[in-house]
Amino acid sequence: MLNRRQLLGAMGAAGIGIAATACSTGGGQPAPGATAAPTGELKGTVHIVTPEFAGTDGKEAFEGKILKAFTDKHPGVTFQVDYTPWDKLNEKLSTLVAGGQPSDLLMTGMGWTEPFAHKKVLTKLDKNAVLGDAKVLDALVKQGSFNGDMYAMPFLLESRPFAYRKDLFEKFQISTTEPKSMEEFNSLLEEVKSKSGLVPLDMLGQNLRQIWGQMIFAFGGTQFSPDGMSITFDQEPGVKALQWMVDLQNKGLSDFNFKVPTGQPSAYQQDKTLMAWGSSGAWPQWLKQTPQLTEEGKLGIMLMPTVNGSKVLYQGGTLVGLSTRSQNSAAATAVMQHLITPDALTQASLFSGKVPARSDLPPNPELAKNKLLDFSVDNLQYSVTDGGTPAWMEIRGKMDPELEAAVTGKKSVADTIASLKKIAEDAIGRIK
């Protein structure tokens, strides 16, 4: 018979064994200098990990059209594409990095650049060589940068402007003039509520981490210091941004309980609200489920004004980075250059419904049908995103429960900020 002491002893031994195994890792190597434009004949296999282009249609769009256009010019290059869903992309990349063999090109999310650049997974890029003559705004390049250097190329974006029911605004005699300040925006919400009797805004039922990220910028702040090694979200803008969210809930201007499963009609689609923090990626769903809301006369779009008279447009999205372990960096760099060309980017946007990262794409009638996307392309200069620290991958997943506790009144704003501060500082402390 096994006694308690034997059991605990075996457990301890098992733990030591696993810890010892986990310590043997083949992480990234020091980043070489910035990549330059490839020269000479390109050949070999380029490995790509992508969370985009899932399924048979996606494979056809990516390999059958976008990458085929590249191999038509460079027949010596072949591709091995690893399609990985977004919700498991971090695990996939982490294991590849630990195994010392990340693919040549890695597609990652917004806010992921700092963590992967800090771990020496991504190579520093020569901005001019990679982007060429593509007009990619500095606000977007910054989101693919770490310590002032570009490590990932913005590719596809998921923008979140505010959509509103233009027809109902007119019906209730609410001004459709875009608010110029935070006070005007708040007054608009109050006016919508008093005149329509409905909850004005479908926002708190969505991703609270992203909302807080946007609102910190709207209040003139940042989440982290420029080097990402200390937090700034506990300063006045961060506190005010969270208080603004709590006030939305308390005053009935938005409702956390309007949360619906992804793919189900949102509160805005169900006519429960007159405004929504929209998403360019949700446009196909709107077209399918509530096409009447996408009509010219019914859809208005606006941006969140900031305290200093500017605007903010939250961006999620996908960036492309080059691995420090790439065995074929010349061909991989050429593929990056190809992905940002008008044809390739248009194809990618048409398939994914996401906003192309360059602002000088020739007009495309199909893309223009997505009015949230079209509006976002015209307003890319206001792009902001959350994150900005090498420890972001560890922090981001722990934020939502804390913010939810604040919005639903289970925790004060001060306590929530304190909890978030501890989470972030612990995570940053582990990478210092």
Binding site: M1, L2, Q6, L7, G9, A10, M11, A13, A14, G15, I18, T21, A22, S24, T25, G26, H47, V49, P51, A54, G55, T56, D57, G58, K59, Q80, V81, D82, Y83, T84, P85, W86, D87, K88, E91, K92, S94, T95, A98, G99, G100, Q101, S103, E158, P261, T262, G263, Q264, P265, Q269, Q270, S279, G281, A282, P284, Q285, K288, Q289, T290, G316
Partner: protein, 311 residues
Amino acid sequence: MTDLNTVTEIEKVKPLKPVRQKSAKRSRRIGRIVLWVALLLFSLVMVLPFVWMIFTAVRPAAELAQPNPPFFPRAWDFNNFVRAFEAAPFGIYARNSFIIGAVHVVTVLTLGSAAGYALAKLRFRARNWIFAWFLATMMIPFYATVIPSFLLVRFMPLFGGNDIFGQGGQGWINTWWALLIPGAVGAFSIFLLRQFYVTTPTELIEAARLDGLSEPRIWLQIITPLIKPGLLTVALLAFESGWNNFLWPLLVTSSEDLRVIQVGLSVFRQESNTQWDLLMAGTALSAVPMIVLFLFFQRYFVNGFVNSGIK
């Protein structure tokens, strides 16, 4: 006191109604009805997600777009199954999942029963320590071991271009070895089978030894046939974990030819949209093999857990 004075008079009297007996029967019947109703309600609760899955799988897109779609579909759109099947190469994925499940059944039964028999019936010095080690490893979550496991596979010597020190190549990454070997046997299977072997009579083993049988033959021909419910239970669990495995195959493969059915289902769950009709159609199709297996072997499956003391 009775007024009956003679034996004849007493014999003529009919017995009184067995009141107490009847009331006991009635209360048993009522108890059974209550039990059946409770079990029926509980079964409905358990089966409801599956019913919802089927109904969602055949619901037209327009109905799904309603804020509160009716429970019973007003129209049945079986085309969802076709569209789901066309959205990804599910034929390849299903084949791969089946191979993984089937191979794991064989390896888990062979290796797990051998280890279980040894831990239950053979006397050796470190037996309890080894068993405790297995129990301890069961308490470690998969996420804690995924990177070490990946590294073992990645640096496997003499495979995939690796040298004797496991350097220079890919190891088992993106090969069938990575899909089949790490799950070839698990601590839980060994534990479960050991519990079954413990309940078998040691006298049989001793008698067999006296008759001159070798230990492998005793294990294979004498004792293992006595634990068929346990073997079936472990086989079902092994197939289920192989068939439903998602994260590990995703991590160790990049080629579409090696991807599994659960990866295919993720096609319908995108960042800002979930195609519930196709997701449920695909999920329903992927659940069919497990449901059929369970329906066939549920008696053994339940017995397996009951007999091993896990309830």
